[in-house]
Amino acid sequence: MADAVTEFVLTPEQQDLRRAVRRFCAERLGEDTVRRLAESGTGHDPALWARLGGELGVLGLAVPEELGGAGGGLVDQAVVAEEFGAALVPGPVLGTVGLAVPALVALAGAGLDEDLLASLVEGARTAAFAVPDRGGRFDPALVTVTETGGALTGEVRHVVDGTADVLLVAARTGEEIGLFLTDGGERIPLSTLDRTRRQATVRFSATPARALAVGAGAEQAITAALRVGGALLAAEQVGGAQRMLDRTVAYAGTRLQFGRPIGSFQAVKHRCADMLVLVEHARSTAFHAAWALQDGTDDPDLAVAVAQATCSQAYQQVAQESVQLHGGIGFTWEHAAHLYLKRAVTDAALLGSAAEHRERIAQLVLDGASASGGVRVATG
């Protein structure tokens, strides 16, 4: 204890950051705005996005200053992601901030397009990450897009924020995997369950693209991006779950049935207590992952897998309980609960399911376990 920066203890600057983002979201991204954008064609307001990048400056907090970012750490960005998740901020939060920007940062010195990175951080342009994953980790065998002569051919499904201005695309080039940049390709928007987090199928047919990296450099950048994306997605999940818990507790404290607040019934109170535990666990694992990636203090694979396994389950469970404890009103279109439930279901399926992350955890902690000493078994 008592290090200058202690894991889990937010600095005063980070607390200010949190308050600023929360205020911005409350003023500019209230539920009405979120609903309006959710029902719009693109699901996204470029002007608002530019304000998040410019005025507020919270889209590239972990990007080094020399690359046009704020030069902070991933924990800063996680603080922002938590608030974004709480407010259900629509737009390319995951595609651009969660995946594309970290990939570009990882490519620093190796083909990095600094102008692009700066414009993404400013919110002037958007990007998505057209790289298939298996359980949130990169598997070259899944790459079906091919590159020949500076052009891409193939299809990637379920690209989050896939209608963004530019795409980072994993493609086979000869025997290797490369990471390519293109603003082309056919973008076929999908009809998503969560209209605040859009996806598209992306089709390339001799689409011109520029190589950012090939071989080990490309794979390292992809792996880094998927890890950061997993940690930031977990922070978003924490924010959504906390917001649903808060709203449920507020409702249970004021809604009267049988002449008393429903929160005075143990059936309701104890479920809220269980939601509290879920949210606390989610927050601990999400921020531990951000700290571990930022400071290199833990196995990044394990930290992210624990966060994703925990947060995906917690958010879904909390959102479902929230609907239940609101009763009929929580099932209506007018109430916000379903917006969070749909986000929770969506986030749980992105960058690896909880089951897939548990499998990774099992590989890391069980497969090498030894049976030295310890617990005995009575053998009759």
């Binding site: 499904r157 369950l193 049935q257 002449g259 929580g330 089951a355």
Partner: protein, 393 residues
């Protein structure tokens, strides 16, 4: 001729004289009613033959065997709740007026019980009915009403005496949904659909002859209706593997590339639970001495609601990335007798209401604990207090 033979003879005559495959449905059902086959245990002249309720299954088998319709699905609230309530608590004249068009589906029925401020605490409802000459003047707002936009009549529970404790100040009515002051608005759900309605009552008038049961006796009348409702919602299919679990098994077969041993075990556990509940329903049905729905309905409702949710949670996990897609949120007014359940993502969302509608799982666990196991009741904040003095909101 014993009762069974009498029922069979009457049923065979109706389907011979009015081939249900060619005669218009209402005409056929009018003949079915006239023959006393709609509810065989009802009195003669009111759609019955005055025989044991158990023989209804025999009549229905003949009806279905001849390709006839299921009258219940044409008018679920009418058949499932209204008919028995009207018969038991209305005058014979009222029953003679209301039952024939109910039986044929000409008059669809709905139920006006729940209110925004009275969900689990149904007896706390606030809609008022005040006597004015020989008519009652009704004001209030009802919610979660299926079929309201198509219904001709409603079962209405309203407060007639706010000075009484909440259960004692209620009276039960039949409301003409075409009366002035009755306004129906669709209520959109998280699925995008509007399966239910809100109903606003503004000085709507009901003749006193359309009161069911005594003034102040509405709660007791409503209990019959609710028992029937829970039984109807909860009653699982008697066919093994049918219902929600069938969706999961079909999806399992369609997504072999998504199979894992863990999901396989999960689905087997869900299937086993569905089967255990099916057998429990079957056991309750067979060992029931009376024909009226008892507390077993509460077990069925509790289990099937939670099981439905777990089944569709499983389905969403099984289909993986596709769970993040959704066809169409365009608002549509859904009706129970078409396939309103949609694709599996919609079924998942719809299942979230299963543990709320028709009695929350929390209320049902109280019922199981108190009425079946005999555990003591909750401490009550509103016990014995005049309704108007109990805090609401």
């Amino acid at each position: 001729m014993d009762d069974r033979a009498r029922v069979e003879k009457a049923a065979h005559e109706v389907v011979e004289e009015h081939d249900p495959r060619s005669v218009p449905v209402r005409e056929f059902l009018a003949a079915w009613f006239a023959a006393g086959l709609t509810w065989v245990h009802f009195p003669e002249g009111l759609g019955g033959l005055g025989v044991s309720r158990g023989l209804q299954a025999r009549a229905n088998a003949i009806l279905q065997g001849a390709g006839g319709p299921n009258p219940f699905f044409l008018n679920p609230i009418g058949h499932g709740m209204a008919a028995a309530t009207v018969l038991e608590h209305g005058s014979r004249e009222l029953a003679q007026e209301l039952l024939p068009p109910l039986a044929t589906g000409e008059h669809i029925w709905c139920q006006l019980f729940s209110e925004p401020g009275a969900g689990s605490d149904l007896a706390g409802l606030a809609t008022s009915a005040v006597l004015d000459g020989d008519e009652w003047v009704v004001n209030g707002q009802k919610v979660w009403t299926s079929f309201a936009h198509r219904a001709r009549y409603a079962l209405l529970l309203a407060r007639t005496d706010p000075d009484q404790p909440k259960h004692k100040g209620l009276t039960y009515f039949v409301l003409d949904m075409h009366a002035p002051g009755v306004e129906t608005r669709p209520l959109r759900q998280m699925t995008g659909q509007a399966e239910f309605n809100e109903v606003y009552l503004t000085d709507a008038r009901i003749p006193d002859t359309h009161r069911l049961g005594a003034v102040g006796n509405g709660w007791r009348v409503a209990m019959t209706t609710l028992m029937n409702e829970r039984s109807a919602i909860g009653g699982s299919s008697s066919v093994r593997g049918a219902g929600a679990i069938a969706d999961a098994v079909e999806l399992w077969a369609r997504y072999p590339q998504r199979h894992t041993p863990v999901l396989r075990d999960k689905l087997a556990a869900l299937w086993t639970r569905a089967e255990a509940q099916r057998l429990t329903d079957e056991r309750a049905r067979r060992s029931a001495t009376s024909g009226s729905p008892g507390p077993e309905g509460s077990i069925a409702k509790l289990v099937s609601a939670e099981l439905n949710q777990h089944v569709y949670e499983f389905c969403m996990e099984l289909i993986g990335p596709e769970a993040t897609l959704y066809g169409d949120y365009t608002q549509r007014d859904a009706e129970r007798n078409e396939d309103y359940r949609g694709p599996v993502q919609q079924r998942f969302l719809r299942s979230r209401a299963n543990t709320i509608e028709g009695g929350t799982s929390e209320v049902l666990r109280n019922i199981l604990g108190e009425r079946i196991l005999g555990l003591p009741g909750d401490l009550r904040a509103d016990a014995g207090k005049p309704w108007k003095e109990v805090p609401r909101g």
